[in-house]
Amino acid sequence: MVAIPSRHKSLVLLAGVIVLQVLMLAVQIKRDSEGRLIRVWTVGAVSPFERASSYGFGWVRNTWRHYFALQNTTRENEQVRHENDALKLQISQLQGKAAEADRLAALLNFRQAHAEVPMIGARVIGTGAGTASLTIQLDRGERDGIRKNMGVITPDGVVGKVVEAYPNASQVLLLTDKESGVGAILADSRIQSPVGGQGEPLLVMKYVPNDDTVNLGERVITSGMDRIFPRDLPVGTIAEIKPGNPFKQIRIKPAANLERLEEVLVLLSLRPLEVKDEGNTGNAHPSTPGAASPPPAVRR
């Protein structure tokens, strides 16, 4: 047997470890679920500490707010903020319903069906442990009914979708991640197009031809075409428009404050949100060249 000089032993170990991890990467690409066990163990071990630190931090902050700083004003302010959040959601839903009422009765029924989508509140206890993906971790998981691919929102707007559900925790891919996306429609011009992340604070709206008229500040809402989010939830507002080839370069400021999430709502439904009749979509039109089959809004 060939003896390895001691000064080369670490180099051989390095090569071995790298090859092992490359093989592990290859296996994961081939089989999507591979490596789940390691993640379950790690998240299971870390999430109690994350939860404790999240509650600890919240306790310290609340103590400061309620006892050392403006005791009553802060409470009232929080109450008003909660009411404001609830009203924002109500207004958004009412706006959607009013628009639907102007269109067709079938679509109105469809919207009402969405109002029954069960939701569960969850607390954000962690973020992704690196910059390679934009994820957050919730303190609720499979035991609370959360499953992979469920939508996550706040009263302000869409947050993302569940990419992994563990027994007591779940991971959510934020809308701003490069792998993320949502089926969207412009609230005024009714142009449909998927909105996706770029790994930056702003989102991009894809496939809007240069000929279409789009205005700065126009609201972007969910189209329901991704079959994850119900229609008419706020996605964001147009912050930047540039001509491109062949499509406009539209950047959108997310409606939800994705950089400061504390509590979110998980839509507890995996039921596909079917659009029964394409003709019922009023004057909405997909802006993609292949209008009959727009590109999939949510990947992965």
């Binding site: 670490s10 990467l25 992704g128 910059t131 390679a132 992994e164």
Partner: protein, 175 residues
């Protein structure tokens, strides 16, 4: 020659030992802070504390085998906590190599001076980012930008934080 970068023979470089459990606790604490701090301070996401811990213990222990194994361990844990869009091995490979390089350099250079620590952390951050992009492009066929102003600033911030963090971690050494 500058004290910070003075090259010495390997036998003259002191190998630092740490208190029992210090490396494990520091590693887990770095991962915990990394995954929970940005909720309250969004800008903190620019820090890569697991990388800083890998570099520190690599430079201090000065044993390439230990350095690369610690890097692999930290990297794989970070992969596990980063969600399913990050395959196991992405950070693992990058931190394995950084751990190896840090240990090898630590065995040849005196890296106790803050200026040396700043420069080395900056260089390792850039190398780490390069390795991640390389892995994404070659092994995962995912287009990724090599470097931009944001990453340059992130490298500077991490190098600056490293100077103070390393002083803190020096207190874990066994005299």
């Amino acid at each position: 020659m500058n004290d910070a970068f003075e090259i010495r023979s390997e036998s003259h470089i002191e190998v630092h030992k740490f208190r029992a459990g210090a490396i494990i606790i520091a590693t887990l604490l770095a991962l915990l802070v990394q995954s929970s701090f940005p909720i309250h301070f969004a800008k903190a996401a620019v820090l890569d504390l697991p990388l800083l811990v890998t570099i520190y213990f690599g430079l201090s222990r000065r044993n390439p085998s230990t350095g690369l194994l610690l890097g692999m361990f930290i990297g794989l844990l970070q992969d596990s906590l980063s969600g399913p869009t990050v395959p196991l091995g992405l950070y693992g490979i990058a931190k394995t190599i950084v751990g190896y390089l840090a240990s090898s350099i630590g065995a040849r250079l005196d890296t106790e001076h803050p200026a040396a620590r700043f420069a080395l952390t900056f260089a390792f951050f850039v190398a780490h980012q390069g390795l991640i992009v390389l892995t994404r492009r070659i092994l995962l066929a995912q287009p990724e930008q090599w470097f931009n102003v944001h990453l340059f600033l992130a490298a500077l911030v991490n190098a600056l934080v490293a100077v103070f963090l390393f002083l803190l971690l020096d207190r874990l050494r066994r005299n």
